[in-house]
């Protein structure tokens, strides 16, 4: 089936896309929504502009729309993007990286149901730690580009998701209830390389901004 990948540039959406390809589906395009609202409940904001480079690395076209990011209204913009992608690439469905968020997942399901296309969520209800381990064993190179919860500070920006990272997250989960895969918005990730990429993306520049326990690292890739 021809699928559109609902893509934030982070580990979950690209790992879901990887599983879809592995199951024999064609990744026809990436679909992305750039939100002007940093507090958006649906769309992740740091480094969304880098998705174009990820799409290029995958040799897959990108459909990107912008939204003001107002609750529920942003869904209309997502729907428009999916309609556009469906028409242009003849999509039979979309694949998302939803793991545990009923808010996100049920809204995507409703849009797909209304548009009469199939919705795939291969990471749905997956153990967060197992998900991180699978990323490593499947050669995903992922870095942290945003942290938004105590006790995560600027020192976490740029960290690689590796075995040491998982050990640290396991401790933080026990001590502070941090969701180890960051789906609760605790952190945002960026994929620099994975089996879907024809070429690896290299980090050439970084700009860190924020305060206390809310930090963002804007990066430039080559």
């Amino acid at each position: 089936m021809k699928l559109g990948v609902l893509c934030s540039g982070g580990k979950d959406s690209l790992y879901a896309a990887y599983l879809a390809k592995k199951a024999g589906h064609e990744l026809a395009c990436l679909i992305s929504v750039a939100s002007e609202n940093a507090e958006s409940l649906m769309f992740h904001t740091p480094n969304i502009n880098l998705i174009a480079q990820q799409a290029q690395a995958m040799n897959i076209p990108l459909i990107m729309v912008t939204t003001k990011g107002k609750k529920e209204l942003e869904l209309i913009d997502l729907c428009k993007a999916i309609v556009q992608a469906k028409k242009k690439y003849g999509l039979g469905g979309v694949v998302s990286g939803a793991v545990g968020s009923v808010y996100q997942s049920s809204r995507i399901q409703k849009i797909c149901n209304d548009l009469n296309i199939t919705c795939f969520n291969p990471l749905w209800q997956k153990s967060q730690l197992e998900l991180l381990n699978e990323l490593i064993s499947n050669s995903f190179e992922v870095i942290i580009v945003g942290v938004f919860a105590y006790p995560l500070d600027a020192g976490w920006l740029g960290k690689k998701v590796d075995k040491a990272f998982i050990s640290q997250m396991r401790l933080l989960e026990k001590k502070y209830g941090i969701n180890p895969a960051g789906e609760g918005g605790e952190f945002e990730s960026l994929v620099l390389n994975c089996p879907l990429f024809k070429k690896k993306l290299a980090l050439v520049n970084r700009k860190i901004s924020g305060e206390k326990y809310s930090w963002v690292m804007e990066v430039t890739l080559a």
């Binding site: 599983l19 199951a23 009923v102 399901q109 795939f120």
Partner: protein, 187 residues
């Protein structure tokens, strides 16, 4: 406390697309694995007499909103008529159970978290309870004399067969109501 070491649960996969098994079968497998309960998975088209013989319980998992293939293959579930071990049908699995026992499928779309009223205790759930819906169809089990409805009335959300240990839920307990699955294993 019931000894669960001897449990061997058959998880029935009704997904037409293999990619959907990640979403509708694996979460249930993960819950059983975490509780150290033995299980095995079979596609509904491949279930044989030996599978039904060796299992201790059966869970018929659900599938996606756009998947209706299983509805054209209800004859694959004729084994349910003579089966006496505990069975839990989830969403599409509940619809299958209803169709085998003479129910009629009706269309209704419900997606997301809904509050349902359980009129009496059902596999650990009671009173008003939030459950996760993901369906385009339902069966009115109140029209079937073999079943008691515990929640939802005509749009039956939780049902139990009156003489067999068969249970059905239209909602997805693997989301937010994992304890229902654990209670089913303890029957």
């Amino acid at each position: 406390m019931k000894n669960i070491e001897n449990e061997y649960v058959l998880l029935v996969n009704i997904c037409e697309e293999q990619l959907h098994t990640y979403e509708f079968v694996n979460p249930i497998a993960d819950i059983l694995r975490a509780k150290k309960i033995n299980f095995f998975v079979r596609s509904y088209k491949q279930i044989g007499a030996s599978d039904l013989d060796k299992c201790s319980k059966v869970i018929i998992c659900g599938t996606s909103l756009s998947d209706f293939e299983y509805l054209t293959n209800i004859s694959f579930f004729s084994w349910l008529s003579d089966f006496d071990k505990p069975v839990l049908g989830i969403c599409g699995g509940m619809q299958i159970m209803g169709l085998v026992f003479g129910g009629k499928l009706k269309r209704k779309t419900e997606i997301g978290l809904f509050s349902e009223l359980f009129t009496s205790s059902f596999l650990g759930l009671s009173g008003k309870t939030d459950v996760y819906h993901l369906h385009n169809a339902y069966i009115d089990f109140s029209l079937l004399t073999d079943f008691k409805v515990f929640a939802g009335g005509k749009v039956s959300q939780a049902v139990q067969h009156l003489t067999k240990p068969f249970y059905g839920v239209l909602f997805h307990p693997e989301v937010r109501q994992k304890k229902l699955l654990e209670q089913f294993i303890l029957i």
